[in-house]
């Protein structure tokens, strides 16, 4: 099984400078059980050194290698070849949507990082505040003392998949709103006010494509709704507060 070799055509999106983009085909020998990013890397290493693509950790913690594979958002370092294409097939590889394309498969995700910063999302957080086993932290003892990297790897796939993000560039977006949900655990930081706006929690139209594509257990759509409920509760409470 692991010695099987397939022949697959990779149809890669190419764009250099201000020239018109186009698709370029590369015939590659691949193993069905290997990860898509390996094939993209081999295209760069052995076929075309001008190919640009972002990658770093190769194990779904850095969030750099998100791409659209046959139109669907995938984190290519953990996407198996056999899950997206068959022997003698063609697989289309494009950059993520809703971000400016820098070159080939590279997009500029600066906006995402800055939005997460503005809502105050914590990149490291206690396992009590962001549990990783549905409410139960592994191990006994002082769970409160364990700090872990937050689930969100800032890969941008949720924004690429969001139909609303396609139509407006000012929407905070699923990643930042899910991040705001985490930040709102601290009740004093004003994040609820920040997201209670037309481009915040109210812009979501429940497509839930974000949760479908998130590779890192964030479930942004769910978090947006949790945040919405919090915002509504806060609004109701503030009516009674100001009446005192």
């Amino acid at each position: 099984m692991s010695n099987q070799v397939w022949m697959v055509t990779f149809r890669i999106f190419r764009k250099k400078g201000n020239l018109k983009p186009y698709f370029e085909d590369f015939q590659m020998e691949v193993k069905p059980g290997e990860y898509l990013l390996e094939a993209v890397e081999r295209i760069w290493a052995f076929k075309d050194r001008s190919l640009t693509f972002a990658h770093a950790c190769h194990h779904s913690t850095c969030g750099a290698c998100g791409m659209r594979v046959n139109g669907k958002e995938k984190l290519t370092c953990i996407t198996l070849i056999k899950d997206v294409v068959d022997d003698d097939g063609t697989v289309k590889v494009e950059p993520l949507r809703n971000f400016p394309v820098v070159s080939d498969l590279v997009v500029d995700m600066g906006n995402l990082f800055l939005n997460l910063e503005s809502v105050g999302h914590h990149p490291v957080i206690s396992v009590v505040e962001e549990p990783y086993q549905d409410g139960i932290a592994a191990g006994k003892g002082s769970e409160a003392d364990y700090i872990r990297l937050s689930d969100c790897i800032e890969c941008g796939m949720c924004i690429s998949a969001c139909p609303v993000a396609t139509t407006t560039s000012t929407y905070l977006g699923p990643a930042a709103l899910a991040g705001a949900m985490q930040a709102s655990l601290n009740p004093d930081n004003g994040v609820l006010k920040l997201v209670d706006c037309a481009d915040g929690v109210w812009r979501c139209h429940s497509a839930y494509e974000c949760s479908e594509v998130c590779p890192s257990y964030v479930e942004p759509g769910r978090k947006i709704m949790q945040l919405r409920r919090k915002v509504m509760a806060e609004r109701i409470k503030s009516i009674f507060r100001s009446n005192n």
Binding site: G17, N70, G71, K72, R97, N98, F99, P100, V102, S103, V106, V107, D108, G110, N111, F113, L114, A161, P163, V164, T166, T167, T168, S169, T170, H205, S206, A207, Y208, E209, S211, E212, E219, G221, R222, M225, Q226, R228, R229
Partner: protein, 130 residues
Amino acid sequence: MSTDTNKPAPSHWWKWFDPRKSDVGNWAFILNRITAIGLTVYLFVHLVVLYQLSQGPEAYNSFLELAKHPFIVLGELLVVVAAIYHGLNGIRVGLTTFSDTSSVQKAIFYVIALVAIVGSLIFAVRMFTA
């Protein structure tokens, strides 16, 4: 050339129309928007029709004749289907917004889609055989 511009990508107001490669949730959203547009257009048409009523019995009777035309019946069926779907998806949106059920939103969609299809068929049969 700097690779870091951190500007948002240009937006395209028409791109939400494209449901290819997306999952059922996006289909739900697209149908919701299309039915919303349809129902809004219908609202204006309905107001025009009601205006006809105020023009006296001849205007109303001639409208009733027109209304029996199969094209108009089809149009009315589309309005009914749109209203059924939009209302049901509205329940899905309300459910997932007010309760923590977004993890089963696809299942909810399949249920409402089934109810919408059954409801539409019932109305179609009744409207075209009346």
